[in-house]
């Protein structure tokens, strides 16, 4: 009896200051025992719990289905709101930089196979305040201009189209020109700045923006950068090939400028 008491006292002395020894006993002796015991009592508890009736299971299944549907609907709404939020965030910066712009955001809903210069159909129309000749842009830069409007949709011709004429300027050198598309360059996503003066100081890499001349486009909207300087093969005038910042061939959502300070 005294021996046993002494052994336990010794153990108490050893383990009180030595967490490793205590941990050894706990992890390798006591914990497995506790796990087996807990598993056993849980299984016993489950076995002793009376099974649910068919009506209870059906009712529970119905409630879970309804809950699942509600959560799925909420998830769909969440993604809608998230996408809308991302879209509005993208165009928030445009509005922040251009306080005088009245913007209408729109999605590209159609690209016709007969359209040669990546024109698009948007999901906003005259009921939303869109008018013919309204400029269309993204946060990256100018995309094009509204060419046709119907009550709930509008068509846009892009800056790659030869029919478009945009007054532009080299931001660095202030050289003015006219932006218009070219058939042979449109597939590559490039456009052309024509009517540069003979004494222009434009260089490759210069940023091109709208000049605001003509009053159709606001000034200082980014378009792209000069990729190459050459001469027009038809008029021999200097021209610049522009690489737009926005790839209009794959644009998904845009902002239409329905009003601005002229």
């Amino acid at each position: 009896m005294l021996t046993i008491v002494c052994i336990f006292l010794a153990l108490a002395l050893i383990t009180s200051g030595n967490s490793y020894v205590k941990g050894f006993f706990t992890s390798f002796l006591l914990t497995p025992l506790q796990q087996v015991a807990a598993g056993g009592t849980t299984a016993a508890g489950d076995a002793l719990t009376p099974p649910k009736s068919l009506e209870e299971l059906t009712e529970e299944n119905k409630k879970l289905r309804e809950e699942n549907k509600r959560l799925t609907d909420e998830l769909v709404d969440y993604y809608d709101i998230k996408n809308r939020n991302e879209e509005l965030n993208r165009f928030y910066n445009i509005k922040a930089e251009n306080q005088d712009f009245t913007l209408v955001t729109a999605k590209v809903i159609g690209r016709d196979p007969l359209e040669n210069f990546y024109g698009m159909t948007l999901d906003k129309g005259s009921v939303d305040g869109v008018d013919k000749d309204d400029p269309v842009m993204t946060e990256n830069g100018l995309v094009g201009i509204v060419s046709e409007v119907s009550p709930k949709s509008c068509r846009v011709i892009t800056i790659l189209c030869p029919d478009i004429q945009v007054g532009v300027a080299d931001k660095k050198t202030d050289d003015n020109g006219v932006l218009s598309g070219r058939a042979e360059l449109s597939d590559k996503g490039y456009t052309v700045m024509n009517n540069l003066s003979e004494q222009n100081k434009a260089e490759t890499g210069d940023i091109v923006v709208t000049s605001g001349y003509g009053g159709i486009y606001p000034d200082n909207i980014k378009i792209g950068k000069i990729k190459e300087l050459s001469s027009d093969p038809y008029t021999s005038m200097p021209m610049a090939v522009i690489e737009p910042y926005e790839d209009v061939r794959t644009t998904g959502s845009v902002a239409i400028i329905t009003d601005f300070d002229k």
Binding site: V108, I109, G110, P113, L114, P162, A183
Partner: protein, 168 residues
């Protein structure tokens, strides 16, 4: 018989809606070498193979008008062009030509490239765009071939519809 005809026309109408969506929705039909298929006129042609002149022309007018509406420019070219083609095809199939895939392909090979070529002439070459012929080769040739690829598919579909819904 009338009931079957109505069901047939409803199915054709659904096909027109699906074809319009296929033709105009971005990224639904892939672009092949710069060209996308113009499905609606082909659908109108495949319908007119199995229908008399008046219904063929009506479906042709709808398909042509939808094609004009989705493309830039005024309504007119495809609306009129497809109606004429549908009338001719319907008359040929009814009176002179045996209806089979070979004859339909021959007619399509004549009509579709002609229609798209004339479109190129009026909307591109005569307008005065530079490098027109280069553009024709890079865009219109692939568009023609891609569009013709739909002829056997739509012919087979409408042949099945007509066979099932033409008689008891």
């Amino acid at each position: 018989m009338k009931r079957l005809r109505v069901i047939r026309y409803i199915i054709f109408s659904i096909e027109i809606v699906v074809a319009y969506i296929l033709q105009t929705t971005p990224y639904l039909l892939p672009e092949v070498y710069g060209g996308k298929a113009v499905v609606l006129p082909v659908l109108a042609l495949s319908i007119s193979v199995f229908e008399p002149q008046i219904p063929s022309m009506i479906f042709g007018a709808v398909c042509g008008s939808l094609t004009d509406l989705s493309a830039a420019g005024p309504i007119g070219y495809y609306s009129v062009g497809v109606v004429i083609i549908c009338y001719i095809v319907s008359t040929l199939m009814e009176n002179y030509v045996k209806t089979n895939l070979a004859s339909v392909m021959i007619i399509a090979l004549a009509c579709i490239p002609l229609m798209l070529f004339v479109h190129f002439l009026f909307y591109y070459l005569f307008v005065g765009y530079v490098d027109a012929w280069t553009f024709f080769v890079s865009h219109y040739v692939s568009r023609i071939i891609y569009t013709l690829a739909f002829v056997p598919v739509l012919y087979g579909l409408n042949r099945r519809v007509s066979a099932v819904l033409r008689s008891e």
